[in-house]
Amino acid sequence: MISPDVLAVSGIKKTFSGIVALDDVSLTVETGERVGLIGPNGAGKTTLFNCLLGILRPDAGQVELNGVDVTGHRVHKRAQAGMGRTFQRIELFSDTTVREHLLIAERVRNNSGAFWKDLLGRGRPNAAEISACDAVLEMLGLGEVAEVPIESLSLGQGRLVEVGRALMTDPQILLLDEPSSGLDRSETNALAATLGAIQSERGFAILLVEHDVELVAEFTTRLYVLDFGQLIAHGPTTETLASPAVRNAYLGAGAAVAGAADDAADPPKADTKRGLGVAGAADGAADPPRTDTGRELGAGDPPGAEPGTGGEL
C-alpha cells in the first residue's frame, strides 16, 4: 500500500545543549501539495528543515520520503531521493556564474559524470544540459544574468538562483526557507506566480517557511504553525490563520493577520513582517518560563551554528 504522502515526519526532537529547539514535531505533505509552515523567529523552522535534510541529526523521530525511512541517510542521499531545498541565508557557490550553478545540479541529477569522461574532455556541459538549464533560467526570469558571476547578483536574484538550482534536481518535495525575504512586493508576487506555474506543471510538493503571511495565505492550502519547537496548530490555511489559537498564541492581539490575509489593499510588506516579529516577541514576554530559554538565544547566531540556521539575513 503506497501512501500518498511524499514526506511524513513523526516525532522529531532536537535540543541544542539543553535548549529544546524542536519538540515532538510531526507533519505530512502529500504529493503535489503546497503546505505552509509559519512561526515566530526562533520557533525552529530552519532547524526542522535541517533535520529533514539531515544537515542536523534529530535526537529522536523519523523522516520518511515517499514511504522510505531516510532518517539515517546522509544529506546527499536524501537530495538524490527527491528532497530539494533553499536556504534562509543564501548559500551559493563562489567563483561561478548563474548558469554554472544550475549546470552542476543538472549533472548531479543525470549522474552522468565519470572520472574518465572528465579526462577525455567529455565532462564539460553538453548542449542538452545547457538548454535544460536555460529553460529554467528563463522561467525564473534569470536569462539575462545567466553569464553573470554570482558575486554581483542582488539578494533577490540570489534567492532565485537557489530556487533554480533546487529545481534542476527535479525534486519531489521542495523545502523553501523564507524565499521572499530580501524581495520586494512585486518580486515576491512574481516568484509566487513562477513557482506556482512550475509546480503545477511538474507536480512536486512544496513546504514553505515564510514570514510573509500574505504569501502563505495565497500560496498554500494547508498550514502548520510552530512555536517554541512545538506544533500549535495545523489545518487548511485560511481556517488555521483565522483560528483563535493561532491568532492569540502566535500573532498576538490579532489585528495584523486580518489585514494581511484579507485586505486587498496591500499593506506595505515590511510592516507585515515587523508586525509579526513584534507580536511574536510580545507573546514570548507574556510567557515567562519560555522567554529566558529559547527566545533569548534566538536573537543571535550561536557560535558554530550551521550556515543557514542563522538569524534573518
Binding site: L53, I55, R74, V75, H76, A79, Q80, G84, R85, F87, E91, L92, F93, S94, D95, T96, T97, E100, H101, L103, I104, A105, R107, V108, R109, S112, G113, A114, F115, K117, D118, L119, L120, G121, R122, G123, R124, E147, V148, P149, E151, S152, E162, R165, A166, M168, T169, G300, D301, P302, P303, G304, E306, P307, G308
Partner: protein
C-alpha cells in the same frame, strides 16, 4: 610481588621522567590556545617563535658571553613579546575577518620565514653537536634524586619551576588585571563575546605578547632537555605535541590544555619505557618498537584528531573579536573577455616556445638541469593545484606522496629491474591509493584540522616509513644511496639531459591538460561547488566525501608521478633534499603565494623554486645583463635563505588575495584591456539592435 613493585617503580620513574617535557608541552599548549581563542589564529609558527628565543639565548650565552639573567631577559622577555606584538599589530589584526584556513596559510608562511629571517639578521647558524645550554649553570650535569627513583637534572627542575611560576602568574593576570579579565572573558566564553574595538585590539595584542613569551620560554627551556643541536625544524615536534594537548581541550580550555600537555609528556615517557620491554617478550611488537617510538608525537596527534570525538564536532571558529560584522563582500568579479583569454594564451605559448627553444639549442648543461628541475617540480605542484586550488583543502603532505612515487621507482628498479617509466606509473598509483586511504579518516575534519592531520602524516612518513627497508630502502639506502636509472624507451635513451627535458615537458603538458579537463569537468565543478558551500552542494545531491577522496587520490597521483620524475632526473631519490615535510610546507606556501588555482601558477612556482636562487640570488641574471661574471657587485651571492623569507612573507598575502599574488597582479593588469573589450562589444550590440529596430519600422 617483586615484579609488581618493580613495575610500579618503572611506572613512577617514567612518569617523573616525562614531567619536565610534559610541563613544556603544557606551556606551549596554553600559549597556543591563547592566540587561537583571542584572534582565531591557529599558529603553526609557534615552533618558529620558540626557536628564535632559544637560538637568541644560545647565541647570547655562547658567543657574546652574556650572563644568564641578561640572556633570558633579552631572549624571552624582550624579543619574544616584541615578535608577538609585531605579528599582531601588523599582520593578524588586519586578518580578523579572514577565514581560519587562510590564517593558517599565513602562519605556515611565517613558520618558514621567521627562522630564516632570524638566522640572517642574527647571523646564526646551527652547528652540529653543539648542545644548547640551559638557564641554570651546569644544568645538564648536576642531578638531584628526591625520591630515589629518577634523578632530575638541574635543567629539568628549573624548567618545571619556571613553568609552575608562569602558570601562577598567568592565573594572577587572569584574575586581577583588567586586560586579563577581558581576555579571560574571551577565552573562556563558549559563545562569541563582543568587545568594543579598542578593547579588542588591546586584548589581542596582549594575548599575542603573552603567548609569544610562552613560546620563547618553552623554547629556551626545552632546548637543553631534548635537543643536541639547535635546529629550527626540531621545534616543529614540540608544536605537534602542543597541538595534540590543545586539541584534547578542543582548543578552548586552558586548564585542559595544561592537563593535556602534562598527560602527553607522561604518556610518551611511559610508552618509551615499556614498549621496548614488551617487545622483548612479544616479537610482534618489535617493528613497532624499532620505528614508532620517535614518531610518537605525530601518531598521538593523528590519533587524537581522528578519534577524539570533540574534534569532529568542533567547527572552525572565526575571530571572536571581529565583532558581528560579516566579512566584506568579495569584490564583484568581472567576466573575462574571450579575446583577452585568447590573447594571453597566445602570449604564454609564444613565451614558452621561446624559452624552450633557447634552452634546447643555446643552454649549457647546468641550465638544462635547472630548467628540467623547474618542469619536474611544476608537475608536482600541479598536485597542489588540484587539492588546494580546486578542492580548497590544505594538504601539507604532498612531499610524502611525491616521495612515495620516488621510492617506488627506486625499489622497483633496485629489486626487480623494472622499467622506470612503468615504475613511475606504479608509484603514482600507490601514492593515489595511500592518498585515498589517508583521506578517509580525516575527511570529516575539514579546514584546519585536515591540514594538521596531513602534516602529522607527513612527519610520520618522515620519521617511520622512510626508514623501512621496503619503502625508503633502510640499510641498503644508507650504504649505497637510493640510486635510480634514467628511463630508456625503445631507441630513445633519456640518459641524455636534453631528451630527458623533452620527456619532462611532455609529462608536464599531459598532466596539465588532464588537470584542466578535470577542472572543467564534473569533478572540478563539483569541487568548486563544495568549496563554495558544502551544505548547498550536499543539498543538490553531491557527496562531499566522495569528491574529496577523488581529489586527494588525484592529487597524490600527480605528486607521485612528479616525484618519480624528480628522482629519475636527479638519478637519486635524495629524500632529505627533495621531500622533507618542511619542504612540503614551503611548496604549499610557494604555490598559494603565486597562484593556486591555475596551471600557470604551478609552472611559475616550479620555475621560482628552482631558478630563483641561482638566477637572482646568485646573481646569474645580473651577470648576464652585465655580460661579465667578474663585474658582479660584492653583495652577490645573496643567501639562499631569502627565498624562504620572500615567499614566506608572500604567503601573508593569501588571506587578502586567495587567488594568489601573480593571479591578482595579472587580473589587475589586464582589467583595463578587459573593460575596453567589453565596452566595444556593448557598443556593437547597441548599434546592431538600433539597426534592427530601424528595420522593423
Amino acid at each position: 610481588m617483586i615484579l609488581a613493585s618493580s613495575f610500579l617503580e618503572d611506572l613512577l620513574r617514567s612518569v617523573l621522567q616525562g614531567t619536565p617535557s610534559g610541563a613544556v608541552f603544557a606551556l606551549v599548549a596554553i600559549g597556543f590556545v591563547l592566540t587561537y581563542k583571542t584572534s582565531g589564529v591557529f599558529n603553526l609558527a609557534f615552533g618558529a617563535q620558540a626557536y628564535i628565543s632559544a637560538a637568541m639565548f644560545f647565541k647570547a650565552r655562547t658567543q657574546w658571553n652574556w650572563s644568564i639573567p641578561l640572556s633570558v631577559l633579552v631572549s624571552v622577555f624582550v624579543l619574544a613579546p616584541a615578535i608577538g606584538v609585531v605579528l599582531e599589530r601588523f599582520l593578524f589584526r588586519h586578518l580578523r575577518t579572514a577565514s581560519a584556513v587562510s590564517k593558517l596559510v599565513v602562519t605556515i608562511g611565517l613558520s618558514v620565514a621567521l627562522p630564516a629571517l632570524f638566522e640572517i639578521f642574527a647571523d646564526y647558524a646551527p652547528v652540529a653537536g653543539r648542545a644548547p645550554t640551559g638557564i641554570v649553570p651546569e644544568g645538564g650535569s648536576v642531578f638531584y634524586d628526591p625520591l630515589g627513583v629518577y634523578p632530575f637534572s638541574r635543567d629539568e627542575l628549573a624548567a618545571m619551576g619556571v613553568i609552575l611560576a608562569a602558570v601562577i602568574v598567568l592565573g594572577a593576570i587572569f584574575r586581577f588585571t583588567p586586560v586579563g579579565l577581558q581576555m579571560r572573558a574571551v577565552v573562556e566564553s563558549p559563545r562569541m563575546t563582543e568587545l568594543n574595538g579598542i578593547a579588542a585590539d588591546r586584548v589581542s595584542a596582549f594575548a599575542w605578547a603573552l603567548s609569544s613569551t610562552f613560546a620563547g620560554m618553552a623554547g629556551v627551556l626545552i632546548a637543553p632537555i631534548r635537543f643536541n643541536t639547535l635546529i629550527s625544524t626540531d621545534f616543529f615536534n614540540v608544536v605537534f605535541v602542543a597541538i595534540a594537548a590543545a586539541a584534547i581541550g578542543r582548543l578552548v580550555s586552558l586548564p585542559r590544555a595544561l592537563i593535556g600537555g602534562i598527560g602527553l609528556g607522561w604518556f610518551i615517557a611511559v610508552f618509551n619505557t615499556f614498549l621496548p620491554r614488551w617487545a622483548d617478550d612479544h616479537t610482534w611488537l618489535r617493528p613497532l618498537r624499532d620505528n614508532f617510538s620517535n614518531s610518537l608525537p605525530f601518531v598521538v596527534l593523528f590519533a587524537i584528531l581522528v578519534f577524539w570525538p570533540a574534534i569532529r564536532r568542533a567547527t572552525d571558529v572565526g575571530d571572536p573579536l571581529s565583532g558581528v560584522d560579516p566579512p566584506p563582500a568579495a569584490p564583484a568579479a568581472t567576466e573575462r573577455h574571450r579575446l583577452l583569454t585568447r590573447f594571453t594564451l597566445l602570449f604564454a605559448v609564444g613565451f614558452f616556445l621561446f624559452v624552450g627553444l633557447t634552452v634546447f639549442f643555446r643552454a649549457d648543461r647546468s641550465w638544462v638541469f635547472l630548467v628540467t628541475s623547474a618542469v619536474v617540480l611544476s608537475t608536482v605542484y600541479l598536485s597542489i593545484t588540484v587539492i588546494t586550488g580546486f578542492a580548497g583543502q590544505i594538504s601539507l603532505c604532498q612531499g610524502a606522496f611525491a616521495a612515495i612515487g620516488g621510492f617506488t621507482v627506486f625499489q622497483m628498479a633496485d629489486r626487480f629491474d623494472l622499467s622506470v617509466l612503468l615504475a613511475a606509473l606504479i608509484g603514482a598509483s600507490i601514492a593515489a591509493l595511500v592518498g585515498a586511504i589517508m583521506s578517509l579518516p580525516v575527511l570529516r575534519l575539514g579546514g584546519i584540522w585536515l591540514a594538521i592531520a596531513t602534516l602529522a602524516f607527513a612527519f610520520f612518513f618522515d620519521a617511520v616509513l622512510v626508514r623501512m627497508s621496503w619503502i625508503g630502502g633502510g640499510d641498503t639506502a644508507l650504504l649505497q644511496g637510493t640510486r635510480v636509472p634514467r628511463p630508456i624507451l625503445g631507441p630513445i635513451d633519456f640518459g641524455n639531459d636534453k631528451s630527458f627535458l623533452a620527456l619532462a615537458v611532455v609529462v608536464f603538458v599531459i598532466t596539465s591538460l588532464a588537470v584542466i579537463q578535470l577542472r572543467e569537468g564534473t569533478i572540478g565543478r563539483t569541487l568548486r561547488a563544495i568549496r563554495g558551500s558544502e551544505v548547498a552542494a550536499e543539498s543538490i545531491g553531491i557527496s562531499p566525501a566522495k569528491a574529496r577522496i577523488a581529489a586527494f587520490a588525484t592529487s597524490a597521483f600527480i605528486a607521485g608521478l612528479g616525484g618519480a620524475m624528480m628522482t629519475m632526473h636527479q638519478e637519486n631519490v635524495n629524500y632529505q633534499n627533495n621531500f622533507s615535510p618542511v619542504g612540503s610546507l614551503f611548496w604549499l606556501v610557494l604555490v598559494v603565494t603565486l597562484s593556486v588555482r591555475t596551471v600557470e601558477g604551478a609552472a611559475q612556482a616550479g620555475a621560482a623554486f628552482s631558478m630563483f636562487e641561482p638566477l637572482i640570488l646568485k646573481g646569474e641574471l645580473f651577470a648576464w645583463l652585465l655580460r661579465a661574471e667578474h663585474r658582479l657587485p660584492g653583495f652577490f651571492p645573496i643567501s639562499g635563505k631569502w627565498r624562504f623569507i620572500l615567499f614566506g612573507l608572500g604567503a601573508m598575502q593569501f588571506a587578502r588575495h586567495p587567488e594568489g599574488l601573480l593571479e591578482h597582479g595579472k587580473r589587475r593588469a589586464t582589467a583595463g584591456l578587459n573593460r575596453r573589450l567589453a565596452r566595444r562589444d556593448q557598443t556593437r550590440l547597441v548599434s546592431r539592435s538600433a539597426d534592427s529596430g530601424g528595420g522593423a519600422t
